[in-house]
């Protein structure tokens, strides 16, 4: 029995993927679970693995080409199995579609099942043998211009899964199926919804028609990378429908600096960055303010009991938000190590999907670029995001005297549907207490 290789949804939000490189040649023996190709998703470069044993008989997507999730990418079969009908169902890579023959073929030719493995007939003849026994006429497309079932047709799902997906506004193409033959079933929809993964469907994109006619040479066009497309889609969804307001506060870092200095004197292994302290403080503040640690789900608000802190990381390709799970319960040293590791692997594009999904609240820090303060865009469905500016010495007034102090400015973007002004302000109050008294973080 042949196994079809599909372009799979390798990240929860992936809708199409670019086949970067085939790792197996046609004719190579492959085992279930073995990597067949590298695929660039909207987030990372992932491996597409074989779902069955046999020989990779056919590769149907060229290296460098982009194909929607569900597209037939190849066929694994035994050496002598007839896979013509399978291959004919897909547009072969790099080859023009076979033209319909001028003369009508015998009826037998058009009755070749295009998907023999799904034939429902009596089991007296194994389907693949029946396909093989058919006359060796190239299986032509039916004369009527029936629209070929596109990738959509290959996403199998139970009726229940389809209903649940439509009720929750999930796109089935973005859900990985765990049933037989990759069928999407109820548990997959629930998992996808829990991960907050699949984006709501069809945000209308109205292109403003600008009057300016740019001149040749004023610009150069660059096709959108997968990650850029995803950023555009996600952030567009954010700034559009989310009524956001912003709260800015300036915190005193004197004690954080004292603490860091004291720790560094104990040895290199005790060194922590200002960012590490801010991450830890934010996580602890979130655990004390569950009303901020929440997701907007359209018809309800989900308040999270655990704190999974997203931290925006700039990469050469663009922004990605890896997640420190249970950040409130981790020690400063663990947060420091994990933040470094995640940022490093984000830049190498080696994050696994579970490492960049599931955050309950996010932090973005542009301090290293000398930004005094800024507003960050909420990563939906989260209730807010904290934008951290640079920490620097400033002249401030303490007890009527001008003194020099280390200060940092943070700005919290709040989804007003979840957080009201006073709620956000109280959260920042707690955060100030923690940052200005960092010993509380070890309590």
């Amino acid at each position: 029995m042949a196994t079809k290789v599909f372009m799979e949804a390798l990240s929860p939000t992936m809708e199409e993927g670019r086949l970067v490189k085939w790792l197996k040649n046609e004719g190579d023996a492959v085992k279930s679970g073995e990597a067949l190709a590298e695929v660039e998703t909207d987030k990372a470069i992932m491996e597409l693995v074989a779902r069955g044993d046999g020989i990779l008989r056919k590769r149907l997507i060229n290296e460098g080409d982009t194909a929607p999730v569900g597209t037939l990418a190849g066929v694994i079969a035994t050496a002598d199995e007839n896979i013509d009908a399978l291959v004919a169902g897909a547009a072969p890579a790099g080859a023009p579609a076979a033209a319909a023959p001028a003369a009508p073929q015998p009826a037998a030719a058009s009755s070749v099942p295009t998907r023999p493995e799904e034939s429902q007939g009596e089991a007296s003849t194994p389907p693949q043998q029946r396909a093989a026994a058919a006359p060796p006429v190239p299986p032509a497309a039916p004369a009527a211009p029936a629209p070929a079932p596109a990738a959509q047709g290959d996403v199998r799902s139970s009726p229940l899964a389809r209903r649940l997906a439509s009720e929750r506004g999930l796109d089935l193409n973005s859900v990985q199926g765990s049933g037989p033959n990759g069928r999407i079933i109820k548990r997959d929809i629930e998992a996808a919804a829990a991960a907050g993964a699949a984006a709501p469907r069809a945000a209308a994109s109205a292109a403003p028609s600008g009057p300016a006619i740019p001149r040749e040479g004023d610009f150069h066009d660059e096709p959108l990378s997968q990650i850029r497309k995803t950023i555009a889609k996600r952030l567009g969804e954010s700034i559009g429908p989310i009524p956001t307001f912003y709260l800015t506060a300036e915190f005193d870092l004197s004690r954080v600096m004292e603490m860091r200095k004291a720790m560094a004197e104990l040895g290199d292994q005790f060194k922590v960055s200002v960012n590490d302290v801010l991450l830890k403080a934010t996580a602890v503040a979130l655990s004390q303010h569950p009303e901020v640690n929440a997701h907007w789900l359209g018809d309800k608000i989900r308040y999270h009991n655990r704190v999974h802190l997203g931290m925006a990381v700039a990469t050469d390709d663009g922004l990605i938000v890896p997640v420190i799970w249970d950040a409130d319960r981790k020690r400063m040293s663990e947060i420091s190590r994990e933040a470094k590791e995640l940022a490093k692997r984000a830049r190498e594009r080696k994050l696994r999907p579970e490492e960049f999904t599931g955050s309950t609240f996010s932090v973005s820090n542009l301090g290293m670029f000398g930004i005094d303060q800024f507003t960050a865009i909420i990563n939906p469905p989260e209730a807010g995001i904290l934008a951290i500016g640079t920490s620097e010495e400033k002249l401030v007034v303490v007890n009527g005297e001008p003194v020099v102090r280390n200060r940092v400015r943070v700005t919290m973007s709040c989804d007003h549907r979840i957080i009201d002004g006073a709620v956000g302000a109280k959260f920042l109050q707690t955060l100030r207490r923690l940052i200005e008294n960092p010993l509380m973080l070890v309590y």
């Binding site: 009726p159 209903r163 037989p180």
Partner: protein, 326 residues
């Protein structure tokens, strides 16, 4: 509550109805002097006399016809077939006379008759004596068909069948006659056409009837140890079928196994699956799986008979398959 056998529950139902209404009488092979081939009518001849407990010759078509005639003139016969395999000879009276009379007489003749006897396979009775007839009977408009699986249901349903003004076929089971269960002393009736949720569970439904209810309950017990909770829907009445109960269960569990004694093709399970796909399409998370007898005459050889019958391992395997566990 007293615990009695299925056999005695049936006997009690007929006795109570004969005491209550003197138009009710019992007729069939060996029902009087021998007190019933399966001793359902034990003591009846002494209690009611030979006018109301009537032994017949071995002539199924003949005494079924006498029964239909008696019903036409106002009596309420209970016709016992020694097994439904023998009732095949009487089908002309059951199908062409009893089932059609009300319709063809323009409503002039009600046929308040009960045809009853053991149905399905017992043990090593071979091909001609091991058949489950419910799909044949349930196919016919004008007949009601019940298949009780427990003593409690047997008594309550048979009493309702005797009081019903339409022909009712009662499918009992040779292997059920000795099974025991709680049956209250006080009178009760179970309405025809109402299924019974024998066990509650949220993971998968088993929809079944008759003898297979016991298999479904055992399967549910075993699966519960693995944390799989089964909704066991006992149809109790095959026609009219309780479509609502089926829908309620499947909408809850999203998965169903249909278990029956008979053959696959055009079986009762096929009808159940049809109701499920019509009413529960958007609730299904997996295709419905049927468990039934192998598509062959029942073999006599013990090992082959076991292989052909639906049983506990097959029911459990079906649930695991429909749960995508295998």
């Amino acid at each position: 509550m007293p615990v009695i056998t299925y056999r005695d529950a049936l006997g009690a139902a007929i006795r109570e109805e004969m005491q209550r209404d003197d138009r009710v009488f019992l007729m069939g092979e060996e029902v009087a002097v021998y007190q019933g081939a399966y001793k359902v009518s034990k003591g009846f001849l002494q209690e009611f006399g030979e006018m109301r407990v009537v032994d017949t010759p071995i002539t199924e078509l003949g005494f079924a016809g006498v029964g239909v005639g008696a019903a036409m003139v106002g009596l309420r016969p209970v016709i016992e077939f020694m097994t439904w395999n023998f009732a095949l000879l009487a089908l002309d009276q059951v199908v062409n006379a009893a089932a059609k009379m009300l319709y063809m007489s323009g409503g002039q003749f009600k046929i308040p008759i009960v045809f009853r006897g053991p149905n399905g396979a017992a043990l090593q009775l071979s091909a001609q004596h091991s058949q489950a007839w419910e799909s044949w009977l349930a196919h016919i408009p004008g007949l009601k068909v019940i298949a009780p699986g427990t003593p409690y249901d047997a008594k309550g349903l048979l009493k309702s069948a005797i009081r019903d003004d339409n022909p009712v076929c009662v499918l009992e089971g040779e292997m059920l006659y000795n099974t025991k269960g709680e049956v209250p002393d006080e009178e009760y009736l179970i309405p025809l056409g109402k299924a019974d949720l024998k066990r509650q569970g949220e993971h998968c439904s088993i929809i079944t009837h008759g003898k297979m209810v016991l298999v479904a309950m055992q399967a549910a017990d075993q699966l519960a140890k693995e944390g799989i909770n089964i909704d066991v829907v006992d149809l109790r009445t095959i026609r009219p079928m309780d479509v609502e109960a089926i829908g309620e269960s499947v909408k809850k569990t999203n998965r169903a196994v249909v278990l029956e004694e008979g053959w696959e093709i055009c079986g009762v399970g096929a009808q159940v699956v049809d109701y499920i796909q019509r009413d529960c399409f958007d609730y299904l998370d997996a295709p419905v799986i049927r468990v039934h007898q192998a598509d062959t005459p029942m073999p006599y050889a013990k090992g082959l008979e076991r292989a052909a019958k639906p049983d506990l391992p097959k029911a459990i395997a079906a649930v695991r398959k429909v749960m995508y566990l295998d």
